[in-house]
């Protein structure tokens, strides 16, 4: 059973792990938004951000490259796994001068987008820029993504056909 720690004696290992997990969750959430955003939008938001705060110098640890990943599916959603086919992905890794390394993976052949995602990922981890990037880049993009999704859902919902059986008899 997990030990309950009394107040005031926070286990430093646990604390470190919690911080680590929070950051991982944050990066995951950011990646989910960035992967669906357009490269131009990310670039424009980063440019606007750079006007307010000077972005730290950074270099490409891994220049953008294209490759394939095997997509796997499951028959009926829970059946035996099978190889559905390959999809093109681009990836990149960027390192900030302060040492944070960001990774970017995205579907398609847009290497520049992968690089921008990697840069955002690195900035999210940075103590000095994490907040600003979350506020000025990721939050607005998330909002856009939500609006687009809602719109698509609404458009789909408008074409929904309800089949029902009229009660026969009874007059």
């Amino acid at each position: 059973m997990r030990q309950v720690l009394s107040k005031g004696s926070v286990n430093p290992v646990t604390q470190h792990n919690t911080q680590h997990n929070t950051q991982q969750a944050q990066r995951k959430a950011a990646m989910a938004v960035l992967a669906h955003a357009e490269a131009g939008e990310i670039a424009a938001r980063l440019r606007d951000l750079a006007l307010d705060v000077a972005l730290p110098p950074h270099q490409d640890l891994r220049a953008p490259e294209n490759g394939l990943v095997m997509l796997r599916g499951r028959a009926g959603g829970d059946g035996a796994p099978f190889n559905l086919g390959e999809a093109t992905v681009s990836r990149a890794a960027v390192r900030l001068a302060s040492g944070e390394v960001g990774f970017g993976y995205t579907l398609g052949r847009d290497g520049e987008k992968a690089r921008l995602i990697a840069l955002c990922d690195a900035l999210v981890q940075s103590r000095d820029f994490g907040g600003a990037v979350e506020r000025d880049v990721i939050a607005p993009l998330r909002e856009q993504l939500m609006v687009r999704r809602k719109q698509a859902a609404a458009e789909t919902a408008a074409t929904k056909v309800d089949f029902y059986t009229m009660v026969r008899g009874e007059g």
Binding site: Q59, L61, R62, A63, G99, V101
Partner: protein
């Protein structure tokens, strides 16, 4: 311990750098004994020369098992850099390695321990990449064989001193045998299995 944050970067321009490095190594192989230059475009981990790093990024991938000499294998810098940028698996068994990286000639194992290829597939042999001190001065060697018009002269200071005598073991094996690439900073000389070498003293 090295973290990814401290890794030297790979090629800044992957396609062009890899193409130009490939061209240099190919020319070196085609003209045994000639000194070719590699335009360095990548970061280099500790214990690795610029030329070696460029060759590694160009030729190694997850399909090329790699053997490292003890000096390289003990450096986590080198291991992590190779893993991150090339994905090549590092193996302990010399006889299944596609490439062997030797940072110090004194650590070169007996050459017949490397893969020699088979008569059907002589290309399945180990290519030994050996870092040497100099390829522009030192003892004089004369090379003969395919790709050489008459005889080529090579001046090099290399370790082990008897490398070329040892390489004579390629002769009776043909078409099997191992190829050697000598690297000194950004200079490359290839000694394919067909080259015959005579030492001319200094």
């Amino acid at each position: 311990m090295t973290t990814i944050a401290e890794l030297p970067p790979g090629f800044a321009d992957k396609v062009l750098s890899a193409q130009s490095t490939f061209r240099s190594v190919m020319d070196a192989m085609a003209r045994p004994g000639s000194v070719q230059r590699i335009v360095p475009g990548a970061g280099t981990p500790d214990r690795m020369m610029r030329g070696t790093a460029a060759i590694a990024l160009t030729l190694f991938d997850h399909d090329t098992p790699l053997w490292l000499d003890a000096r390289m294998a003990e450096s986590s810098d080198v291991l992590k850099w190779l893993k991150f940028h090339t994905g090549a698996p590092v193996v302990q068994d010399t006889s299944i390695a596609s490439f062997a990286l030797i940072s110090d000639g004194a650590l070169l194992p007996a050459l017949d321990r490397f893969a020699l290829g088979t008569s059907e597939y002589p290309d399945r042999s180990t290519t030994v990449i050996l870092q040497v001190e100099r390829l522009d001065a030192g003892r004089s060697f004369e090379l003969r064989g395919p790709g050489i018009d008459g005889a080529a002269r090579l001046q090099a200071s290399i370790r082990p001193f008897d490398l070329f005598e040892r390489l004579a073991f390629n002769e009776p094996l043909f078409p099997r045998g191992i190829d050697v690439v000598l690297v000194a900073d950004d200079a490359v000389v290839a000694i394919p299995r067909t080259a015959r070498i005579v030492s001319k003293g200094s």
